[in-house]
Subunit: 569 residues, 2 copies
């Protein structure tokens, strides 16, 4: 057992130099994030712990540390693993070699589909993964009452997992309007975690509203998008988790906030980051590199990414290159460029074998697209006023515009007008509890023919589809049903691109390298259709998110987010 009497005896002998250490990084340099100094010498490791610094050590195994700079393992303070489109095990294999030794996730997506079964799948995975995955308890399932989710999680459901060893507390508390409205079910969740960790989510929440939100015990926010907003949150004692995901990228706006005074109150996170971006830019290493390039002081960037992140979540056993800390270390070829050479997790060098021995976790939710095959008629929008509300997609943003446009009507129904970039958008409830279909129109996808469909649709993950023709839309949805989830692109009656995400309709069963390739191919197919968007499936996936302004669509219909109510299409 780690930390038992025998293990302590081994640590003592190795720290004192009575016995050779299990592993020594010899003649290296390391960044001391406590003092900001670059230190030189050996780092001794016994089992999963660092046992010696600032002294000379011999090891049973030794790594030549010359030319390398060692830093503590990185901590992703807020991530939805599902957004990588791969299983937690593949997430592990993808990001640990990049230096992310701890990730604090919110299984919000899978819980919206599978409820408690999604949570336990993540907890079971966490127990076998190589990186240390902490699983926060998703606080807002469903996110709103204007959509049909696959499950509900109430305060009582969450409390049962409060003391699980992989749980730190309550995941991002998105429902701040529910806080200000004092909804009992919302407050009960917060009340149950008053003596635990509560993650925040407070985009643009300022002034007295921020005070009210913080008064409920929320500790941090990863939704901060300007320096001015960050300063207000820091002044009010809120830990600011600087995010750079695939959709929301805040490091440019916030790098200037990082300094000696503030670094203890900061952290970094990826939130939603897909495997393409991880492959092309990086994971936490990207955030660190980007912040340093933007001029933030090197030692304080690393402090924020390690020690501050750990302590902000009550983790005392990591975040420093120091005796007694977990031997979660990143060996860098270059400190400023965060160029990862080798990763050590729990005292072991990370390699292919690290991941081979994890033991299996059975996938869950392989039949989660509970939808009968659709027909062309299901997409019919009845005739009505010719001026209709149309969702205006903004490239690279999850907020949308509320447009009012003339939508043509033919043979008693309103139809898409690809020439004017007015496409149809539908959302099909896919959790088996009802047969809702939401229908409307959208501008911004820009293709003249074909359709794209997705079973990823935040936050309830119903099937969403955008198309120039009802026939292609039907083919896309039916193919999605066959795949039991994924992304599909259809043109002129033919499937031209697809990726299967059969685990809860959110995650692939393939290795991340395969998914990366599939995503690249799919992106090219949709671009060939004439879609100008860099990430058409991400933009599609956020169309049903009714907590983000201004006009969205769920299985219940078009949602005016500003008024938080359904509107006629």
């Amino acid at each position: 057992m780690t930390g038992g009497r025998q293990e302590l005896m081994r640590r003592i002998d190795q720290a004192l130099g009575r016995a050779r250490a299990d592993l020594v990084i010899k003649d290296t340099r390391f960044l001391n994030v406590a003092t900001g100094e670059i230190a030189e010498g050996d780092i001794a490791i016994c089992g999963d712990r660092i046992v010696g610094t600032y002294e000379s050590y011999d090891g049973v195994r030794e790594i030549d540390g010359r030319g390398l700079t060692v830093v503590p393992g990185f901590i992703d303070t807020h991530v939805h693993c599902e957004s990588t489109c791969v299983t937690p095990f593949e997430f592990d294999r993808c990001v640990l070699p990049r230096g992310t030794t701890t990730a604090i996730c919110d299984p919000h997506e899978i819980c919206n589909v599978l409820g408690e079964r999604g949570l336990t799948y993540f907890l079971e995975s966490a127990g076998r993964m190589a990186l240390d995955l902490r699983v926060q308890l998703s606080s807002c399932v469903p996110a709103t009452d204007l959509e049909t989710s696959g499950a509900r999680l109430e305060a009582d459901d969450l409390v049962r997992y409060r003391d699980h060893p992989h749980v730190l507390g309550l995941a991002e508390f998105m429902n701040f309007p529910g806080v200000f409205a004092k909804l009992p079910a919302v407050l009960d969740k917060l009340a149950a975690f008053q003596d635990r960790h509560i993650d925040g989510h407070a985009p643009l929440v300022r002034g007295r509203e921020l005070n009210a939100y913080l008064s409920c015990g929320v500790r941090n926010c990863h939704e901060t998008t300007s320096a001015d907003e960050a300063w207000e949150k820091l002044r009010k004692g809120m830990q600011v988790l600087i995010r750079d995901g695939s959709v929301s990228k805040d490091v440019h706006a916030l790098a200037g906030v990082i300094g000696p005074e503030t670094s203890p109150f900061l952290g970094f996170c990826t939130d939603d980051r897909n495997p393409l971006d991880i492959a092309e830019e990086g994971h936490m290493d990207h955030l660190i590199r980007a912040a340093i390039k933007l001029g933030a002081p090197v030692a304080h960037v690393y402090r924020a990414a390690t020690w501050s992140a750990a302590r902000g979540f009550g983790l005392f056993d990591r975040g420093l290159v120091a005796p007694g800390q977990r031997a979660d270390l990143v060996l860098l070829d270059d400190l400023e460029d965060c160029a990862v050479n080798t990763v050590i997790k729990g005292g072991a060098v990370v390699s292919a074998e690290t991941f081979a021995g994890r033991g299996p976790v059975d996938p869950v939710g392989l039949d989660s697209v509970r939808l009968d095959p659709v027909r062309v008629e299901d997409f019919r929008v009845p005739e009505g006023p010719s001026a209709r509300p149309v969702i205006g997609v903004l490239p690279g943003k999850i907020i949308t515009e509320r447009l009012t446009l003339e939508v043509p009507q033919r043979r008693g129904e309103a139809v898409a007008d690809p020439d004017r970039d007015i496409l149809k958008v539908c959302v099909f409830a896919r959790h088996g509890s009802n047969r809702n279909v939401g229908r409307g129109f959208v501008r911004g996808f820009g293709f003249a023919e074909g359709a794209i469909a997705s079973s990823v649709g935040h936050d309830s993950h119903n099937v969403c589809v955008v198309g120039a023709s009802d026939a292609d839309m039907a083919i896309a949805v039916n193919r999605l049903i066959e795949l039991q989830g994924g992304f599909v692109a259809v043109r002129n009656g033919h499937v031209i691109g697809e990726i299967a995400l059969p685990l809860a309709g959110l995650m692939s069963l393939n290795p991340f390298e395969t998914v990366e390739r599939e995503l690249k191919d799919l992106r090219a197919s949709v671009r060939a259709m004439g879609c100008p968007l860099a990430e058409p499936f991400l933009q599609l996936a956020f169309l049903p998110l009714p907590v983000i302004p201004h006009l969205k669509i769920t299985d219940m219909g078009l949602v005016d987010v500003d008024r938080f109510e359904l509107v006629d299409a």
Copy 2:
């Protein structure tokens, strides 16, 4: 209930300004220890929490904050309340009005006398006190095997209290030699708290030994006496708790270490501080004042005394003037001078009434001096070699010198020689388990006639007595037995000064003001006897502490601390 749904509703309404706040400090300035800025405005409080900063608020009750500067309540990170010679309730009444809103104590003294009964007395007191007292679990009872204590606490005894709401973890782990020697009973205590907080105690422990000690999970040290030592500990990730007690005063040596880089890794503590020093100099306010006077940056001194202290012990609900934090606030007339005007604890202004409503806690251990009356013959030191080891007391220090001096012999026994400042010193076991008497000689007390005796004698708290005459020594000890503990001064057959400490032989049942006066009178009496020491009873109380070099005396006899063995007197 604090933090229940109803309480959250009240907080939200007050934070939003929908309802008047319970209490508002209007038009004030406050030190933001997160950003280092001085902010201006109102501080709104609901129940025991801050609910508003950086906004304007109206209160049901309002305090005019003009001219004041508000800071978070101070945290004493390591204190033996027993050293104030008063009960925990009186400690509360003494230090809370000086701004100490949280104290993390180690009931090591009472546990050495009463064992678990001492611990539960402190826990029961903690449950009713106005300041927030956290009770660490005394890790070294008894401190050594070279003395007779009143109790033993093994790992199993401590584990039972691990989850008590007033317990944070294991108290100062003094037995670092036992760590290096890998003693099973010692390691079992550490092993049982690997996932909890473990306080350190590592005076002059450096290099590989410090690495070994830290490898066992120890988090901090309050025994650091030089800047060089502090830097090594900080570099190795150990939180350095800067101490200024009545005996050990380290703030002068360590103030230079306090800065923007280090402040998150620091804290302050008093360890042992008597009511006289608290009255004359202060408590945590003294430490803050002293560090600032020595040139440490103001904001970082306060950060160390508040936020850093709290987070280092895993307390997330205090240490900032920010919404959601406990309303533990100190209103200062002057920031740099730490001049306390008003203290707010849990949202209530501290006054005499604060302490009136605490409900009683029955004293324990009122019969703890289990010693039959002594006779003059009990002090007899048999004839032997004329050159003997003599304890050399060093004024103001708890380390002693090992002297070898000619001790006169008369009528078959070795006797004191007051003219050469060689007095007799004896320690009587007082816990009823044996009738041990340790006898020897001491230089440094400097009085020509009389004796002083104490039932406070670290760490086993046997009765220790120093005297120029056996007759006066016997009178002093017998008076101590009548008092059931305390300090006694005798001259020419008469008791000339005394203070009763009947609670475990360590604490008075009187108010701290009475104890302060009694201590002052007693100090004057002993000074009149010709004793040059500033704190004769403190010096006496540390003579039996066999973990501090070089020559000490316990009920078992003289102890050569360097060789850790008994020697002939």
